[in-house]
Amino acid sequence: MSTAHLKLHTKPEVPLEADVLNTAKLAGLSQSGIEHLSVMHGNEKASLGDFFKVTGKGNSEIRLEGDLSNIKMIGAGMSDGKIVVEGDVGMHLGIGMSGGEIVVEGDAGDWVGPEMSGGRIIIKKNAGHMVGAAYRGHTTGITGGEIFVHGDAKNEIGSGMRRGFIAIGGNAGDFTGVNMLAGTIVVLGELGIRTGAGMRRGTIASLEDAPMLPSFEYACTYRPLFLRFYLRKLQENGFKRKIQDKHLNGIYKRYSGDGIELNRGEVLLFSK
């Protein structure tokens, strides 16, 4: 079984929309078939071969190499297989994906896995804004799947999220879990301000203390058993740096909110 290996030879001058970089679209294509797949370079049509050197044939795994920070929509609509990116990626990674796995060794741009319904995205370094978010106007963000960001992520993580799991190894920006409907977000580092604004249900947990909105009410301090399982799972997935025994066994402050909505959501902040 060979892998399609695409190495960037020319960095696009303006963003390249490469939603064809998806295991289903490459499946069964020869090397030249892959090179001839069309992509949008700014407002002009181009082909993958103009930017990538392709070796191997289309299969259930794609390896991408180079600085892809200007390349958007990789893995859009993916339903199975695996994409490994040895480098950085641009915006809109794995839009609406329903299965399979995307692993990025470097940084990711804004909009990682928006509106995804299944599968897993792993970012080894940092991600931009809107990780696992709803697109503007939609009330519902991700409806399933997992997003693991080992570094930091910026604002509006999991906006409108309905189901699924998002873990951030480093710090989060502002508005984590804004308008969240359900699901779980775990941030091992610090949360920004206005965490959980407008959330209806769901859980946001952090290993650090954080400023809470006045519409969140302090409920209790307790030892959430389920969180221990989540943290163990994260340890197994390589989030080793910050999770210590005290976090596994410690007690957490629980805030319920958002009071302007259903008030059924919760924010758990590590206490001691």
Partner: protein, 547 residues
């Protein structure tokens, strides 16, 4: 190139001229239908095709501030439905509320060539005319929302009838409107002034002006008749959407006596039952009243399942919608002229109220005895987007399809409706009436909706298919003002239709009464208010009725 055209061998449906499926030729010259053309004329062979006049939409929302608010409110709807440019046409976005270019093209691809926006506050006229100018293919116009204008209500209260007439004539000239629109008469000012306040009864005097909705409707009907407007006041009755509102609707129609009146989206005003409880159908009561009163015309405002967008000058009704949906909505105020509410909505088959609304609309269609006066609309995009017209036509023409749909929706609602017992199927000729000839007649458009000599050469040629939804979804040819715009299902050129408006005469001295009101209460100077003629671009005056 010759500007002559001959359509041969088509089955022609032209109810105005009593042509019901005859094979005959249609000759076109200089954008109009003529008796004959020379032998040099281009020939379109319509063998096996159905030839009708272009569709006329009497009630839709395609331009203006509320439409733009709805566009801005729903980026998600646009993202999922891009409308790419072609060699001949421009790009846009679709969804329930498409962008201007997409609106025109999508109307054309249903065989529609004329559409009227049903509610524009005159203050927004300048922008609306610019938007309509950018709405391709179709001819268009709009109704000026004047029923809740503070100044006009003041005149009604003080009994200054002559001045009211002059003022309305002035306004229609100033804003280039087509007729007057009355929305939830009397309800705007209470709503704007006091939380959740509205008028509930047609004879309830609002505490703002001490006049009742009936007074307003009555005054506007008189003015339309005195001025000879081609289309009577277009009325959106009080209590839209409330259980038991059919009594208000019947009272509204009674107010007209034997004078002309058009009731908009009558389905939304045909609910029995008790206020605050689940609605029941009053489709039969409403349609019987309309059947018996030839002075009344109405459009149905059918609900179709799926996404829609409530957009209305009836702000309280949008607020009520939002109470169901709990999602985003907009409430807006057009200073002295109108209110406005916008709320995305989803009609669902399994929901009792939605299924009943769907059934009531169909009841009204199927019990109608006069298709010339009970015409086709979905109040696009309130009941459904205009793109669902073909499906609605199929529901009316195909009993088996209708029964299939009936079996899929909420059965409790179907048990409260007589829809199952109605076996009627519309004929192609009746469809031509409710979608073309009827609306054109209600609107007083002598040159639209038919294929007689002298009519505008707005013609649609459909493939004669068994499945009427497919048939009405993709005309083979659309000819606008004699110019083939769609040929063999493809756009072959871009075309921009004209704005239709009226120009009633008025006594210029009315400006002496208007000016102080503008200087005191408007955000715009009187001299800057009236829209100058160059905003009309291509346009046509529709002549007034001779008294």
């Amino acid at each position: 190139m010759s500007n002559e055209l001959r359509i041969t061998n088509g089955k022609v449906y032209d109810p105005v001229n009593n042509i019901d499926g005859e094979i005959r030729d249609i000759c076109i010259k200089d954008g109009r239908i003529v008796e004959s053309v020379s032998d040099d004329a281009r020939i379109i062979n319509a063998h096996g095709n159905v030839v009708m006049a272009g569709g006329v939409d009497i009630h839709c929302h395609i331009a203006g501030p509320k439409v733009n608010l709805a566009r801005k409110l729903q980026p998600e709807d646009h993202r999922l439905d891009p409308h790419p440019a072609t060699e001949h046409t421009r790009s846009g976005v679709g969804g329930v509320v498409p962008s201007t270019f997409a609106t025109g093209y999508r109307y054309a691809t249903l065989g529609y060539t004329t559409a009227f926006d049903a509610a524009v506050p005159p203050l927004a006229a300048r922008h609306v005319l610019e938007e309509l100018h950018d709405t391709p293919v179709i001819d268009k116009g709009y109704y000026a929302v004047l029923g809740n204008h503070i100044f006009l209500q003041q005149l009604i209260k003080e009994g200054r009838k002559e001045e009211l007439k002059e003022a309305i004539a002035w306004w229609l000239n100033a804003c280039k409107g087509y007729t007057t629109k009355i929305v939830n008469p009397g309800g705007d000012e209470p709503w704007k002034g006091k939380k959740n306040s509205n008028v509930r009864d047609i004879d309830e005097k609002s505490d703002v002006f001490d006049i009742s909705p009936r007074d307003i409707i009555d005054a506007f009907i008189d003015v339309a008749d005195d001025l000879g407007l081609p289309h009577p006041p277009h009325v959106h009755c009080n209590n839209l959407g409330h259980s038991g509102n059919f009594e208000t609707t019947i009272e509204t129609m009674k107010t007209a006596g034997d004078r002309r009146l058009h009731i908009a989206h009558i389905q939304f005003h045909s609910y029995a039952g008790k206020l605050g409880e689940n609605p029941l159908s009053a489709g039969r009561e409403i349609v019987e009243y309309v059947n018996d009163h030839p002075n009344i015309s109405c459009d149905v405002g059918q609900v179709m399942f799926g996404k829609s967008t409530i957009m209305t000058a009836d702000a309280p009704s949008a607020h009520m919608t939002q109470a169901y949906t709990h999602t985003k909505w907009i409430n807006a105020d057009t200073e002295n002229e109108s209110g406005c509410g916008v709320a995305p909505y989803n009609y669902q088959e399994h929901v009792y109220t939605n299924a009943l609304q769907w059934a009531i609309g169909l009841e009204i269609f199927l019990l109608s005895k006069d298709p010339w006066r009970i015409v086709f609309s979905t109040d696009s995009p309130n009941g459904a987007s205009f793109t669902s017209y073909p499906k609605l036509i199929k529901l009316l023409m195909d009993k088996d399809f209708r029964n299939e749909e009936i079996s899929r929706v909420n059965q409790k609602a179907m048990n409260k409706s007589i829809l199952r017992e109605l076996k009627r199927e519309y004929t192609l000729s009746e469809i031509a009436i409710i979608t073309r000839a009827g609306p054109a007649k209600c609107l007083g458009l002598a040159n639209k909706g038919h294929l007689g000599v002298g009519a505008d050469a707005d013609i649609t040629i459909y493939d004669d298919q068994e499945d009427k939804e497919l048939m009405f979804n993709a005309p083979r040819y659309v000819i606008k003002s004699g110019q083939p715009v769609i040929e063999d299902h493809e756009f072959t050129t871009d075309y921009y239709g004209k704005t239709l408006h009226v120009q009633p005469e008025f006594d210029p001295s009315i400006e002496n009464s208007l000016r102080p009101f503008f200087e005191d209460y408007y955000s715009i100077r009187f001299n800057n208010y009236a829209v100058s003629d160059h905003y009309l671009h291509d346009h046509e005056f529709i002549p007034l009725r001779k008294s």
